[in-house]
């Protein structure tokens, strides 16, 4: 600790350079933190999706409907606990910018399938009673300040009613929550009654967008998926069954491998900034070789001088790195609370590991002064 004032004073010997170096490090680690956000965005928050949920969609595309007759056949398979189905509704709430996912579902089956989401019993009963009733996740309800009883007008981008209008009127009858902290990854969604939707829509009756299958044993995922798809092989409605996580990832991948592209760009920028900053810091160390030589004349050993220089560069890297990662955390929290279409971003240990490895790696590498004799150091050679 007695060396800390020396360390601190040395760090600030050129204030402008130190501040610029710190800002560069903050920018680099902010980018690294935002990589986490990008990864969360492109994984669609899939890390919290259940391992025991399978999605069966049409083999050609998830936009092609599947006949309801598949339901009983899927239910008959050993290991299947409950099967639900859903149809994407694609509605806009009041304004184009207010888009959020809505699905037409069977109320009883939804409650049985998504047991990690908790809908109060009286609200569940109200939903079953009201054909135009809808339920929303807590995040979505908070985003628009909805209370139970709120009228929800939606303009569907896909489904007109039989009279040709795309305007649909619903009423919020329930708000669902997590069963345990973070257990329900559907809190930004809204669910409407399939029976009402199916009767009222202009076309496509009797078909489901996808089937959602809760299985008893997550270890049976592969077998059941294979058996479901085998049942409908060579039929007019072939299927593709996968885990909910894989389904979500494939959904995002429809727009191309943006995750890879974005990660590559951010990663390249991060390491470029880091290398440039490291170079500046390294240059600063070399400029001070005469001073380091003076310390040696006073009796500081080579090892002590080395440790002092490394400690100094580590200090600046850790300050800049933590500030950048802290800023990134604030940005991610802001995004999560903004109500935007952004999946929950959780602290990713791998990103923090990479951040700390980068801080310590750069700190140590740039802090290594060239081995030089005192005589050469004093003469500035």
């Amino acid at each position: 600790m007695k060396f800390f004032p020396l360390l601190w004073a040395t760090l600030w010997r050129k204030k402008t350079r130190t501040i610029l170096t710190l800002l560069s490090l903050v920018a680099a680690f902010l980018l690294l933190g935002l990589l986490q956000a990008a990864n969360s965005l492109f994984s669609g928050g899939t890390q919290r999706l259940g391992a025991n949920l399978l999605i069966t969609q049409a083999r050609v595309s998830f936009t092609s409907p599947l006949p309801m007759r598949h339901l009983s056949q899927i239910e008959s398979l050993p290991g299947v606990e409950v099967v639900s189905w859903s149809q994407f509704f694609g509605g806009i709430y009041k304004d184009q910018k207010n888009f959020f996912p809505q699905f037409a579902v069977n109320a009883d089956r939804w409650i049985a399938t998504f047991s990690e989401c908790r809908l109060p019993p009286e609200q569940a009963a109200a939903w079953k009673q009201s054909r135009t009733g809808v339920i929303a996740g807590r995040t979505l309800a908070d985003r628009f300040g909805w209370k139970v009883g709120e009228p929800i007008p939606l303009l569907s981008q896909i489904w007109p009613q039989k009279d040709g209008t795309r305007a649909w009127s619903f009423e919020l009858v329930g708000i669902f929550d997590d069963v345990t902290e973070g257990s329900c990854p559907r809190m930004g969604n809204m669910y409407l009654r399939y029976d009402y939707f199916d009767e009222a829509r202009q076309f496509g009756q009797g078909a489901a967008g996808i089937f959602v299958i809760r299985i008893k044993d997550p270890g049976q995922t592969e077998r059941i998926s294979r058996e479901i798809d085998a049942m409908f092989e060579n039929s007019p409605d072939e299927t593709k069954t996968q885990t909910e996580k894989e389904f979500s990832l494939n959904f995002v991948r429809q727009v191309g491998n943006l995750s890879l592209i974005l990660n590559s760009i951010l990663g390249a920028v991060f390491f470029t900034i880091l290398m440039l900053t490291g170079n500046t810091m390294s240059q600063a160390v070399r400029e001070r070789i005469p001073e380091l030589a003076v310390l040696k004349t006073l009796g500081f050993t080579n090892r002590m001088v080395l440790l002092l220089v490394i400690a100094e560069s580590l200090l600046i890297c850790v300050i800049g790195g933590l500030a950048g990662m802290g800023l990134a955390t604030l940005v991610m929290q802001g995004l999560a609370q903004s109500g935007a279409q952004f999946p929950p971003i959780t602290a990713d240990a791998r990103v923090w590991q990479l951040a700390f490895a980068s801080m310590f790696g750069v700190g140590i590498v740039v802090g290594l002064p060239p081995r030089i004799s005192i005589v050469d150091g004093l003469s500035g050679r």
Partner: protein, 229 residues
């Protein structure tokens, strides 16, 4: 002459720069008595700074023995030599070599960081050293707020603060005007006469050399004559 604090025996020093070898010191012998103020003079390239570096434990000879303060230092390892320097030698350089980001007080405290003294004891001793060199009132000033003479006084205080056996000065007045140089040399003389410090000083300046009790002339890596009084 009292007991020798520095004994140089058959010392040679050869530098290799690229393919060329240059013998800077040639079989040199020298004794410096305790309490002496010795001036090393000679033209550029005569080897006086090299000799000073060997005496101060900053460099090691190619052959020969260097015994300072009763210890043979020519065969010490780097860490042992660093510890030896901290105990026995205080350095004063031509360009002061103060840490620009530290105050005069903190610069003087630097050698004491290597001791077990408490922070308050370090500060106390640094204040005493600054008082000895007549610069107590400038303790909170940084080197760029001091004149050349003041900066050199701080450097002398830093050299003194750990109470070394030997003060080694390399052209200590080379960057100063005559008046300031005389003040600094007077200070060194006082430290030698009143505090009994042994001082070895390299200088080009014959006037500066007059402040020493003995003078040695070097030429082409060897002593040109016996010490003169």
């Amino acid at each position: 002459m009292s007991a020798g604090i520095v004994q140089i025996r058959g010392v040679t020093k050869t530098y290799t720069r690229g393919k060329q070898s240059v013998e800077v010191l040639k079989a040199l012998d020298l004794d410096v008595a305790k309490g002496d103020f010795l001036s090393l003079m000679g033209p550029s390239g005569s080897g006086k700074t090299t000799l000073l570096n060997l005496i101060g434990g900053l460099d090691q000879p190619t052959t020969g023995q260097v015994i300072v303060a009763g210890e043979r230092i020519d065969n010490l390892g780097a860490s042992a030599l660093a510890a030896w320097r901290a105990r026995h030698v205080g350095f004063v350089f031509q360009f002061y070599n103060l840490m620009p980001m530290l105050t005069a007080q903190k610069n003087v405290e630097l050698p004491l960081l290597l001791t077990n003294l408490s922070a308050s004891e370090r500060a106390h001793r640094a204040r005493i050293a600054l008082t000895v060199v007549g610069l107590a009132e400038r303790a909170t000033h940084k080197p760029n707020e001091l004149s050349g003479g003041q900066a050199q006084r701080v450097a002398i205080a830093r050299a003194l603060v750990a109470d070394p056996t030997l003060l080694v000065c390399d052209e200590p007045t080379g960057d100063l005007d005559r008046k300031t140089a005389d003040e600094i040399l007077g200070l060194l003389q006082t430290l030698n006469r009143e505090h009994g410090k042994t001082i070895i000083m390299v200088t080009h300046d014959p006037k500066a050399a007059e402040f020493a009790t003995h003078r040695v002339h070097m030429d082409k890596g060897a002593l040109a004559d016996e010490p003169t009084h």
